[in-house]
């Protein structure tokens, strides 16, 4: 009675970017008149989900978005797709993907061509290489982050002139809180 359908369960409270979502929407939009059981079957087919009890040792390659709730050791490659490590997922592997969303545990280096997103409760022990990295409050991270810029000069400080002006006036800025973040 407590067992729910793992294929369609949301991976976390704040997971709007769950890879399955766009696929679900596409499926629903293209077949609005599908009877409920058939639509459900299609969704199950489109969402690839490695369940909690699954243990994989070796190399995992794919050409579709993937959610892992089980254990994977070795190497994961989803070069053009989104990899989601669910809250129950435990990964001990080198990860290569377009985007990686971490709600579970990752032990190993993570390389993403678009984004790495460590959500609240997620944990990464390893080095991250990605142009965009988001680490939520409540996430654990240990390692280095390499955010290679896609060309162009480093951004110049917007506030540099203000800083110089303040110093030249010879006064320190107040110790009172100026705003709540």
């Amino acid at each position: 009675m407590w067992k729910r359908d793992e294929a369609v369960k949301p991976t976390g409270p704040a997971s709007p970017a769950t890879p399955a979502t766009p696929t679900q929407q596409t499926t629903q939009a293209s077949a609005p008149a599908q009877p409920e059981p058939r639509r459900h079957q299609m969704m199950e087919r489109d969402i690839v989900n490695i369940g909690k009890s699954v243990v994989i040792k070796g190399e995992l390659n794919g050409s579709e978005d993937l959610t892992i709730e089980g254990h994977v050791e070795g190497k994961i490659e989803l070069r053009d797709h989104v990899l989601t490590i669910g809250p129950n997922g435990k990964i001990k592997a080198q990860v290569f993907a377009k985007a990686v969303i971490v709600l579970g545990e990752v032990n190993g280096n993570v390389t993403a061509t678009e984004k790495v997103d460590i959500r609240d409760g997620g944990s990464v022990d390893g080095d991250i290489i990605s142009p965009r990295v988001a680490i939520a409050e409540g996430a654990h991270f240990r390692g280095s982050v390499d955010m290679q810029r896609k060309g162009g000069q480093p951004s110049q400080g917007k506030g540099d002139s203000a800083q110089v002006q303040q110093r030249s006036s010879g006064s320190t800025v107040g110790s009172q809180p100026i705003a709540a973040h």
Binding site: G104, S123, I135, G138, H140, M147, Q148, P154, Q156, V173
Partner: protein, 237 residues
């Protein structure tokens, strides 16, 4: 009783046990101005292939900020967590030797170090061991940013570390969190200078919240003969 149909009991327990106690719990905190941070960023911006070392706890906002501002590689080495572990395990005597072998970086490979206020919590031996290591791993002409308390911490105040969250180039948000160790006796400016020799103090600002922001620079190879001499105090005090 509220029951969420998409969550099982195992989901709840598994996510609870993984919660990192030292993870950034969010919350608000006062925002104070910083004057040295912009100088630190400017120094780093002039370099390519930069490597930044952050000795504070992991703050996602900071990682994003420094990554986007500098496009550099960031190593996060949470020394506060290490210190806390040594305090709670009553192994503080071993902390200096731990620090002496803490950093795996090669000599002269780091372009910038964010110390925050870690030195306020260290005893003399630990501070010396850490400073020695930081000087070792800094590249010539590289910069180090640190904060130092200038007044004795109130004895009644509960001990706590501060998570410094970069709001922007001119402001830091201070978020306190519980610690087993309080701030130690403040270091005098001369002590600070001696501690980091042969680094040179290029900027220092005494803020009204009783913190001294100091920006150090490692002399380039040509100027190492002029060791330890502060290059012009630009203190705001």
């Amino acid at each position: 009783m509220v029951y969420h149909s998409s969550l099982s009991l195992s989901d709840l327990f598994s996510s609870r046990k993984r919660k990192d106690e030292t993870a950034d719990a969010g919350a608000a905190g006062p925002v104070y101005p910083t004057k040295a941070l912009a100088k630190f960023l400017s120094s780093l911006n002039a370099r390519s292939q930069r490597l930044l070392l952050d000795l504070g706890p992991v703050v996602g906002t900071n990682v994003t900020f420094f990554g986007e501002e500098l496009g550099c590689k960031i190593h996060v080495e949470d020394l506060f967590k290490d210190l806390e572990r040594h305090v709670t395990e009553d192994k503080l005597d071993a902390f200096p030797s731990f620090l002496a072998r803490r950093f795996a970086q090669e000599d002269g490979t780091v372009d910038g170090i964010l110390c925050w206020d870690i030195f306020d919590y260290l005893d003399k031996a630990s501070a010396q061991a850490l400073a020695r290591e930081l000087v070792r791993i800094l590249r010539p002409d590289a910069v180090l940013f640190a904060l130092f308390n200038v007044v004795e911490a109130a004895t009644k105040a509960p001990p706590g570390y501060t998570r410094y969250v970069v709001a922007d180039r001119q402001n830091l948000q201070y978020r306190s969190y519980h610690s087993a160790r309080g701030k130690q006796r403040p270091l005098s400016p001369r002590d600070i200078q001696r501690l980091f020799e042969p680094l040179r103090i290029t900027e220092q600002f005494l803020l009204k919240n009783n913190l001294r922001e100091v920006l150090f620079r490692k002399p380039s190879a040509e100027t190492t003969t002029d060791e330890g001499k502060p290059a012009g105090h630009r203190a705001a005090d």
